[in-house]
């Protein structure tokens, strides 16, 4: 019987219905048609009208017109009006280099016995390291941390961009034009009146003067902070881009009484995820402060991810997107000479891959971060803590677990190192690296034992005299260089079986990555079994029919 035409509408209708569903689900609403993401609206409102004003023109203050010969003289002038500034500074980590919130029995920070796998420790190397201290004259452990005049107001507040501390001056600018052998540049003494009269709120350049050059050079340390962030474009940093929101650092690192919001070692940047809608004076240090916990358009799956995944994990696809950053530093190969002289070798990215003073380096650009559970705390070992040299030593590590409601999966730069340790005491060692000619410093004598002896002595720690090099890791949370939303990490970079970004993350079921193995095996066995069954049955039918017909 022929199929009546009127009967055909049914399957046709079904198919049309299906097509409709597929189309509706697959097409994103266009930008004009749909409401924008509420988290974006919130943040835009929160940062509207950033015009700030002050009631004082510092170039009109008589006290700043007097002749100055040194930094402390300028500081005394500042303090004559800003009477509490120095005592506020004295309580911050910017001054002490020790986390003020860390317990006295376990002080954390470079000023204490915390180490890294770059130049390891400031002890015995102060004049070089403390060129990034917001003070004048921390040249050794005799530095007077209680002296108000030693606070360097200018490095954070001057706005001319001409104020430079001498790289090996213990925080002091050069007193007369001086060449720094490390970079071959001449450092001029500041025009004290000009810089003193220029002061204002810190800009990216003030913070960046130290934080973009951590580890002794541009882009060495963080991976998400380097000189490309002085004037980033929107695609490098959507918040700080000069063609975008043009934020200064302090837009998020909000500050009270000189305490700058942000993580300090084991002390999280924030313990509460408070949006501005709940507390308009809350620090803006978390993404959620401005963007809320459900920033995406209603119904967008990413809103469901914010309980487990840090914003940064998707919104910072790679770090070091303009300049390469150091990913490995092997001290054990330092000391090789070429024709009896120290030398440097440049790698393909234009950065040194070998330096007699420092050993081998690996630099990388556009680095995919490593991911860890993270509750905002980064714990670390100190120079006193025993290590297990048979395996890679984690000098610091993100604290967090899938069971902790405050933990999120967050991105990190993991810097590998190979650095000296005491084979008898099983502790990491402080090398005395920087020093004048004739000192025990490694960069003078290239004698590890003498340098370690001197470093440990000045750190006040024992050294057996026996040493070797151990593999280490040091982590940095990746939180700057937030890309525009179009460049955020795609779903399938995590939801995938092979080599996904979440490959190392345990404690969470990730569709597309995970699956029950037993069910997987039984399932495919059942499907293939059915297939084989019907195949055999079908062949049987065909054969029997042919036999009958034949």
């Amino acid at each position: 019987m022929p199929v009546p035409a009127r009967m055909l509408w049914l399957p046709a209708a079904a198919l049309f219905g299906l097509a409709g569903i597929v189309a509706a689900s697959a097409s994103d609403p266009g930008p004009g048609a749909a409401p924008t993401a509420p988290g974006r609206d919130m943040a835009q409102q929160a940062t509207r009208g950033p015009q700030r004003w002050i009631t004082s023109d510092h170039s009109k203050h008589e006290i700043l017109k007097q002749p100055f010969a040194s930094g402390p003289e300028v500081t005394r002038a500042c303090l004559s009006c800003h009477t509490e500034a120095a005592s506020q500074i004295h309580r911050t980590i910017h001054w002490t280099w020790v986390d003020p919130a860390s317990p006295p029995e376990k002080p954390m920070g470079k000023g204490a016995l915390t180490v890294n796998n770059y130049c390891v420790s400031i002890h015995s190397n102060e004049p070089r390291c403390t060129s990034c201290h917001i003070g004048y004259g921390w040249k050794d452990k005799t530095f007077d941390f209680s002296d108000p005049a030693k606070v360097d107001c200018l490095v954070c507040h001057e706005r001319t961009g001409t104020y430079k501390k001498f790289p090996a001056g213990a925080g002091n600018p050069a007193a007369k034009p001086t060449v720094f052998p490390g970079d071959g540049k001449t450092y001029e003494p500041p025009d004290w009146n000009r810089v003193a009269q220029s002061v204002g709120r810190p800009t990216r350049d003030n913070c960046g003067a130290c934080h973009f050059y951590g580890g002794g050079g541009d882009a060495v340390k963080h991976g998400d902070l380097d000189s490309s962030m002085h004037k980033p474009n929107r695609s490098l940093d959507v918040h700080m881009g000069v063609d975008g929101k043009n934020f200064d650092c302090t837009r998020c690192h909000t500050t009270r009484a000189h305490q700058v919001a942000g993580r300090i070692y084991a002390t999280p940047a924030a313990t509460e995820r408070t949006p501005l809608t709940r507390d308009d004076l809350t620090p803006r240090i978390t993404c959620e402060s401005c963007h809320t916990a459900t920033p995406h358009r209603p119904g967008v799956k990413a809103n469901d991810h914010t309980d487990k995944v840090a914003c940064q994990s998707c919104h910072i696809p790679e770090f070091a997107r303009v300049l390469p950053t150091k990913m490995r530093w092997d001290w054990s190969t330092a000391g090789r000479m070429k024709e009896g002289k120290p030398y440097k070798e440049k790698g393909p990215l234009g950065f040194p891959v070998y330096d007699t003073q420092k050993g081998d380096f690996i630099w990388e650009k556009n680095v995919r971060p490593a991911y860890f559970w993270y509750n905002g705390t980064i714990d670390a070992i100190s120079l006193k803590d025993p290590i297990d040299p048979t395996r890679r030593v984690a000098i610091n590590w993100p604290v967090g677990s899938p069971a902790d409601v405050n933990s999120r999966i967050a991105p990190f730069k993991v810097h590998e190192g190979k650095q000296p340790y005491d084979t008898v005491h099983k502790t990491l060692l402080v090398p005395h690296l920087f020093g004048p000619p004739g000192s025990e410093a490694y960069w003078q004598k290239y004698d590890w034992r003498a340098a370690l002896e001197s470093g440990m002595k000045q750190a006040g720690l024992p050294f057996s005299g026996e040493f070797d090099f151990v593999e280490t890791t040091y982590v940095f949370p990746t939180t700057h260089m937030v890309a525009p939303k179009e460049r955020s990490v795609a779903c399938n970079e995590c939801h995938t079986r092979e080599n996904g970004r979440m490959a190392g993350i345990a404690g969470v079921y990730l569709p597309g990555r995970d699956g029950n193995r037993v069910i997987e095996v039984l399932g495919w066995a059942t499907v293939l079994g059915s297939l084989a069954g019907v195949l055999v049955h079908g062949i049987g039918r065909a054969v029997s029919r042919r036999r009958k017909e034949g």
Binding site: V3, T496, P511, V534, R541
Partner: protein, 224 residues
Amino acid sequence: MNAETANACRMVNVYLYTRYERFWHWLQSGLVVILLVTGFETHGRLELLGFKRAYEIHNYTGLFWLIAFAFFVFWVFTTGEWRQYVPTTRKLFAVIRYYLFGIFRGEPHPVPKRKEAKHNPLQRLVYLGLAAVLLPIQMASGFLYWSYNSWPAWGLGWLSLPVVAAVHLAGAFAILSFLVVHLYMITTGHSLTAHTRAMICGWEEIEEREAVEDWEVKTRRTPA
């Protein structure tokens, strides 16, 4: 009509499947195929649409199915068609025997289709299992999977995502293997396309035989 079937018995045209049944069958088959494809892509076993699109289509299709299934449940109870799904063991083994042996010898089907009894005892079991157990489990586990973020608010915080996901995956495999067998079984009519044709236009040629037995009839008329 070929000689072989003509010899066995006379064929009659019977209107087996109503509009709604056919509509539901094809709608559901479409949904199942979409869900299987997008589901296995979401599970990381396929690369076709990309994870995001696959997952979005899977969710919307699943939710649509859930709503459409409610209409099916309404239909199956209001029309009394649920009686077609009441399981029985009578002639069950005869049917199994037929598919294992008889079919190869050209024997007639022990329980041919009738308007009032369109499922043979084996089909009754399979379709009951499908409509009353497998599909509801799949829908429930899928809905839970989808609503994962609301579990604590709904007092379901004790649920385990790996377990829900495993149940959903097991269901997917069961449905996939049902599909394999089902697609093969539709070729076992008196001609290869007879069953398919029936499911498109509603009419199927079936062998005219003795009246349907009482136990087979779906409606039990009770005296007024």
